[in-house]
Amino acid sequence: MKGDWRVRLAAGLALMLALSALLEFRQWRKASAANADVAELLVGHDIAPERLAVASPQVLLARAVYFVRHERYGDALELLNLLEAQGDAAFCADVYYNQGNLQLTQALDRVEKAEIDQARVFAEMAKEAYRRALLLVPGHWDAKYNLEAAMRLMPEMDRVSHAEDEPPETESKRLWTGLPGFPRGLP
């Protein structure tokens, strides 16, 4: 019958468009729910377990921030390790950056308690995490700032001096034969 193809076209179009509208609507609902969850976590309330089951990486990152703020460092680290290599480069860089912050915070704690060896371990891990963030996003200013802080905390052993990039030679370490000012014995 004449005009039949137009009826089919109209029907197909109506169905397809309605389906697209529905999908976009779901997407929107999910995005708003995720944003609400993130806001909830950032003001300091944990979210309900059933929301956690469907949480997006963004929500989980916010939850890691929430853990850190409540000094649940173990939970935070576990979550951040889980989030590695998810999402785009910017998101990954943020995950690495937060890992670095977690380690640096603990390094600072240790330094204040004068536990230098442990502080050194945490600072090394923090530096590694910040470097990974900066390799992904070279313009990550917070990572630059905190990497510098981590490096100040535990000065790099090999200071670049006079364009010498090779590891320092062993002879130079023997410059001091003993600790200066150390009593050498009784007269």
Binding site: K2, A18, E24, W28, F91, T105, E156
Partner: protein, 301 residues
């Protein structure tokens, strides 16, 4: 600091290094240049991009084995990318470094030079070491006790874009409504649609007459309402003489030509002749014609 764009390399701060006189170049090499960005103002994590341009003879390509290896060059310098591409007659080697040095004060650093080999030639092209200055971005003290917070706070996730899906959903929804309306208008299953309304009215009126006998009065009313529909479709009164022109302008009704002609002939007999329709045209036939006209009107191209 963000990577320095090529624009600034070439136009604003470009420094052309190593423009060796032709006499010092290995045989076959016509031109060689080492193109570098500004050599000051770098901070930890910055990108530095160097370009080496070589114009050499046919077959003298840059030997990939002589390129510096991608990865950590020393403890603070990373070579992210070393790529050769062709640009007309020239070969362009792009080197993208990233510095991770954390200076206590403004400090000179150097990216080491290297020697570039060309395939099928013994000569070397020396890419010189490049010195730049780097500066700290924060005060020296790190500990909390000394005032400033020691570190930048955690990164919080960027909000998930919600406006896009909302707008798209509304747009698709409206478009779907439009398509639905079109569908309803094309299909004969809904009583609306601008083009169907004249015969739809006639249909309704004839349906109202359905229960009655084919009396003179009922026939008169039936013929009158169908005539009315034809007149309104044409926009002026339609008589039997005007039918050919009517069909010419409205090919959708062409399939109903015989039936419509019969209707007009019968109508003439009823109103101006003996009073009985010839050829016989009762109310049921009239209703069938009205329905066919209704469909023709809706599907008219």
């Amino acid at each position: 600091m963000l990577p320095v764009s090529r624009h600034s390399i070439f136009l604003l701060l470009g420094l052309w290094y190593g423009l060796a006189p032709a006499s010092e170049l290995p045989p076959g090499v016509k031109a060689f240049s080492f193109d570098t960005p500004r050599n000051f103002g770098y901070v930890i994590g910055d990108l530095i991009r160097h370009e080496v341009r070589v114009e050499a003879g046919v077959g003298q390509e840059i030997d990939a084995a002589s390129l510096p290896k991608e990865g950590w060059i020393n403890r603070w310098l990373m070579l992210r990318r070393a790529e050769v591409r062709s640009e007309g007659k020239r070969q362009v080697l792009t080197l993208e470094y990233q510095t991770f040095y954390s200076p206590l004060e403004v400090k000179n650093l150097a990216i080491p030079g290297f020697e570039l080999k060309l395939a099928g030639s013994d000569g070397h092209l020396a890419v010189p070491a490049w010195t730049f200055t780097t500066a700290p971005i924060r005060e020296l003290s790190v500990l909390r006790a000394e005032g400033q917070p020691p570190m930048r706070p955690d990164a919080v996730p960027a909000p998930v874009p919600a406006f896009g899906p909302a707008a798209a959903s509304a747009g698709f929804g409206l478009a779907a409504l439009g398509a639905l309306a079109w569908w309803a208008y094309l299909g004969p299953w809904l009583p609306f649609g601008m083009r169907g309304r004249y015969f739809a009215e006639a249909c309704r009126e004839l349906r109202g007459l359905r229960g009655q006998e084919d009396t003179q009065e009922a026939l008169h009313r039936g013929f009158a309402c169908l005539h009315q529909a034809f007149n309104r479709t044409l926009g002026e009164p339609l008589f039997i003489e005007g039918l050919d022109e009517f069909f010419l302008g409205r090919p959708a009704y062409d399939a109903l030509r015989n039936e419509i002609q019969d209707f007009f002939r019968a109508s003439y007999e009823v109103f101006f002749g003996e009073g009985a329709p010839v050829p016989p045209f009762d109310l049921a036939r009239m209703e069938a014609l009205a329905r066919s006209c209704l469909l023709a009107e809706r599907r008219r191209p």
